[in-house]
């Protein structure tokens, strides 16, 4: 699906990270690999530290609410100006009701405020932005609060060297608004459902409820141990998909808009790991310094929240004071890959806080 909007802007981004920090070395001995092999993986992928919730009782909703409290308390967001709330996550509070409605209830928002949950992962920020832009085309909707929250660390096996070293938890709040300024947003989102199971959590939904049996650990051919309640990723298929589809998509968008990637200041991408991002930068043909890849080493991969995290961590002050053209791109579970090219800047806030 193509994305094309005008008179829309982002006016603020806040990332909320758990205060709890875990180092790669702290968990390395859980993996059935030699220390030397694990350290080699660490160097190649850029693992160092990650931020995950201290215990399973902290959820994506909790991180989101901490962020909203911060914005209300610091007069960065007026409760009465909100027209819609989007909650994009793969870790909702309940199967029912929607988490966005819980947020609506907590802050006693007006009945006319529209709420919607979106089930999206790695592309969740791009899909969330697209949904926010579409909502803003409705009369009476002028400000959308886009919440991205993923707390997936409890869904990853501590004995899975494929996923555990890189997983992080986070939430982000992005304010998306209509503007009278002549702005341009272009992009595209594509899906390939034939690869839907390339990233999945087998048990816990309607198809396979959690039982004692699904909770048993099994070992894969590489020596990783996980249960059916845990996230499982076909790393090879994901790698091939990203390296093929993402550069193709960016090239097409740039060509179709008679633009040049030279005019793009930063490529703010989903952050799977440094290895994949450096390969992507090379393939797209942009300098690695224009495509920051330092989120996994500092915070971990928080699925749909990584684009706000890479943005607030690297460009926080800069985006509060200047404006620049950037390319957002998210890719992963679904399979879904989406890219948006737009100007962003002079934000009311562009910060990262800890909870």
């Amino acid at each position: 699906m193509k994305i094309k909007f005008s008179n829309k802007k982002i006016s603020g981004i806040l990332s909320i990270l758990p205060a709890n920090e875990v180092m790669f070395e702290d968990e390395m001995h859980n993996y059935s690999f030699s220390e030397a092999k694990s350290l080699k993986l660490k160097a190649a992928m850029g693992f160092k530290s990650k931020r995950i919730v201290a215990d399973d009782s902290t959820t994506g909703y909790d991180l989101t609410v901490a962020g909203l409290d911060y914005l209300f308390d610091n007069d960065l967001l007026d409760k009465n100006s909100i027209d819609a709330i989007l909650f994009v996550s793969q870790s909702p509070e309940y199967i029912m009701p929607p988490t966005s409605n819980l947020i609506h209830g907590k802050y006693e928002l007006d009945e006319k405020v529209f709420c919607m949950d979106v089930n999206q992962g790695c592309a969740g920020f791009v899909v969330g932005l697209q949904q926010a832009f579409m909502l803003l085309n409705n009369e009476g909707i002028n400000k959308v609060v886009l919440c991205n929250a993923d707390v997936l660390s409890p869904k990853v096996s501590k004995f899975d060297r494929n996923s555990n070293p890189l997983i992080g938890d986070a939430a982000a709040i992005t304010i998306v608004e209509n503007t009278s300024d002549d702005t341009s947003v272009v992009g595209e989102i594509r899906m390939d459902g034939s690869g839907a199971m390339a990233l999945n959590v087998p048990a816990g939904g309607a198809r396979l409820p959690i039982t004692a049996e699904t909770s048993e650990l099994y070992e894969d051919s590489f020596g990783n141990k996980r249960s059916k309640n845990h996230l499982v990723m076909q790393g090879d298929n994901v790698f091939n998909f990203v390296q093929t589809k993402v550069p193709e998509q960016i090239k097409n968008i740039v060509e179709n808009t008679n633009d040049s990637s030279e005019t793009i200041y930063y490529f703010l991408f989903h952050q799977p790991n440094r290895f994949m991002l450096q390969k992507l930068a090379d393939k797209i043909g942009v300098g690695r310094e224009k495509l920051p890849s330092n989120v996994v080493e500092n915070f971990g991969n928080s699925s749909g929240v990584t684009i706000p995290v890479v943005t607030t961590h690297n460009l926080g002050e800069q985006l509060e004071n200047t404006e620049m053209k950037v390319c957002f791109s998210g890719f992963g579970v679904g399979l879904t890959w989406g890219t948006i090219i737009m100007k962003i800047g002079n934000l009311d806030f562009c910060k990262l806080i800890y909870k």
Binding site: K37, N162, F222, G235, D236, T244, K279
Partner: protein
């Protein structure tokens, strides 16, 4: 072929490799070497490989045939 053998020796962290060497016989063999092979095939040979295909290839020679076979499609 010379280039390929050098690239494989680098991934497997040995001085040199032989065509008949079994992939799983290398000390360095693990999921990271598999990913390195996938990345090499993508970068240098413009083909996509999966873990299963690499496992089926069994030897250095099998892997070379797998890559060149895909290139000729």
């Amino acid at each position: 072929m010379e280039d390929f053998l050098e690239q494989m020796a680098e991934i497997m962290e040995v001085d040199n490799v032989n065509l008949s060497d079994e992939l799983t016989s290398f000390e360095a063999w693990d999921s990271l070497t598999t990913l390195s092979i996938i990345a090499l095939a993508d970068d240098e040979y413009q083909v996509s490989l999966t873990n299963a295909e690499i496992a089926d290839a069994k030897t250095i020679e099998g892997l070379h045939q797998l890559i060149t076979g895909k290139q000729n499609v």
